[in-house]
């Protein structure tokens, strides 16, 4: 039997602003910056964009951000709305864009996120806003926050697998090394394992340099049903809980389930992947995801790192822009920056930062406390 023919989804353009401190610039200013860059790069006319998907901004909780942005950007899409899935929002917008392109609902979609999370609010406000992903009656009133949720998770995971603080620190160091050569990265000054270990405790076992910074910045991509340099060939989600206290098993958070769905769609196996873009809100997040996704044995992510596998020149380059831990975290845009980097490297457009050409990237993002999971498989069309 012939399979029905669906249009395909390609990423045509991807851009970020510089991440870090943008004094006096609003969430909209930053989003527009990234969007204008991505649109210019795509070579498309504004009238050709018929879909707009937009991530929420904690500093600018507007009721219909995608319409507002469309107006400000001179776009009149057929389809537009905002999305909220915490850190998984960026990858989820790419997944939805692919679905809309394949269904024929849209032909060319702008995916955009950004906010002034660093300069637009007090640090306490940012921490309190994020803490609300916790349970309002049984978790948040304990004086808990997102770093505390992840610290509890880290303690349980480290107890079960033997991962130690030094290994966490090595991932922070790797992300900083990768950020060093990216002109848009928030944190580029080299750090050592000893510095990570000696940084001030936030919520043990996590110290300051185990945590991503809070940044201002924006990311944008243009997807199209017309052929482009990178195709999205698989996607999958999993949602097993919202709250940490409802997590059934720290070894089965949902990450592997989402990834299995994405790989099955792409008809690929884990070993066919040669580039990784993995969410890294904390060092423990990165290690847990790498191991659950099957890119390292349980308790074995550190060993792969020490073999050099995750380096820019390694077998499985990981977050070559520096990830949330060093490129920076400006909410939804931070997670989207992983997709921008994966696209840039797969498309061979990273300029002086270009790594050996790669064929297939696995993007994985989580929202909440490893609550919402989204996996994507990207393929370089000229390498396929």
């Amino acid at each position: 039997m012939l399979e029905p023919h669906y249009p395909r989804a390609y990423i045509h353009a991807a851009a970020t602003t510089r991440y870090g401190r943008h004094e006096g610039r609003s969430a909209l200013d930053l989003m527009a910056d990234a969007a204008n860059q991505a649109l210019a790069q795509s070579g498309l006319q504004r009238g050709e964009i018929d879909g707009v998907l937009c991530g929420y901004a904690t500093t600018f909780p507007h009721l219909m951000l995608a319409d507002l942005l469309s107006e400000k950007l001179g776009l009149q899409p057929h389809y537009a709305h905002g999305m909220q899935m915490g850190g998984a929002t960026g990858a989820a917008m790419i997944m939805l864009a692919r679905t809309l392109l394949r269904a024929g609902t849209c032909r060319r979609i702008l995916v955009i996120a950004g906010e002034n999370r660093l300069t637009g609010q007090a640090v306490d406000t940012s921490i309190q806003t994020l803490a609300q992903v916790g349970e309002p009656d049984t978790e948040v009133p304990n004086g808990a926050s997102v770093p505390a949720y992840y610290a509890l998770l880290a303690s349980a995971y480290m107890h079960q697998t033997g991962v130690d603080r030094e290994t966490l620190a090595e991932f922070a160091v790797l992300m900083r090394q990768h950020a060093a050569s990216h002109p848009h990265a928030h944190l580029r000054e080299p750090i050592s394992v000893d510095q990570v270990l000696a940084s001030k405790p936030i919520a043990t076992p996590l110290h300051l340099l185990d945590c991503c910074p809070i940044s201002d910045g924006a990311s944008a991509l243009v997807l199209s049903a017309d052929e482009g340099p990178v195709q999205v060939i698989g996607d999958g989600q999993a949602h097993r809980h919202q709250h940490l206290s409802a997590m059934r098993d720290v070894l089965d958070t949902g990450a592997a389930r989402a990834c299995a769905r994405a790989l099955a769609q792409a008809q690929l196996r884990t070993q066919d992947i040669d580039y990784l873009a993995i969410y890294d809100s904390f060092t423990i997040t990165l290690i847990m995801l790498l191991e659950e996704l099957g890119f390292a044995a349980r308790g074995g992510a550190g060993e792969r790192l020490r073999r050099g596998d995750f380096a820019v020149s390694g077998a499985l380059p990981l977050n070559t822009h520096g990830g949330l831990l060093s490129f920076g975290h400006s909410g939804v845009a931070g997670g989207l920056a992983h997709v921008v980097e994966a696209w840039t490297q797969l498309a061979g457009r990273a300029g002086p930062r270009q790594i050996d050409r790669r064929r297939r990237a696995l993007v994985h993002a989580d929202g909440g406390v490893l609550s919402a999971h989204v996996s994507l498989v990207l393929q370089a069309e000229d390498m396929a």
């Binding site: 306490d124 921490i127 309190q128 803490a131 349970e135 309002p136 009656d137 049984t138 978790e139 009133p141 304990n142 004086g143 808990a144 926050s145 770093p147 505390a148 610290a151 509890l152 998770l153 880290a154 303690s155 349980a156 107890h159 001030k200 405790p201 936030i202 919520a203 043990t204 076992p205 996590l206 709250h243 940490l244 206290s245 409802a246 997590m247």
Partner: protein, 113 residues
């Protein structure tokens, strides 16, 4: 915020499963009749963190404080505070304590009966 006792949990009338996070349906059997019942507060510590960076000024005054996740004997997980020296794997007993004007749980080492 809640006025309930922190050890008041919900129990499914259909299958007897306990739930700590106030669901509208039992995730084990799909039952929607859930009644309040008090848990013993006894269980095992599965996670622990000492919080040094508090979310607000009120909590900052109390840093560092220890948070734990405890797997209760009723097979639910609850978050609470812990006395110093509590470690993962240890059997504990939760009692209520007032911190910052809220009735919270504090877990301490379980003393033999």
């Amino acid at each position: 915020m809640t006025t309930r006792h922190p050890l008041d949990l919900q129990r499914c009338a259909q299958c007897g499963a306990w739930w700590a996070l106030r669901p509208y349906a039992c995730a084990a059997c799909g039952g929607t009749t859930l009644s309040w019942q008090r848990a013993t507060g006894e269980g095992v510590v599965i996670a622990r963190s000492d919080v040094h960076r508090a979310p607000d000024a009120q909590w900052r005054a109390l840093t560092p404080y220890s948070l734990v996740l405890v797997q209760l004997d009723e097979n639910v997980t609850l978050m609470g505070h812990a006395e110093t020296g509590i470690v993962i794997g240890q059997r504990v007993n939760g009692r209520t304590t007032e911190i910052n004007g809220r009735l919270l749980l504090k877990f301490e080492a379980r003393h033999p009966p």
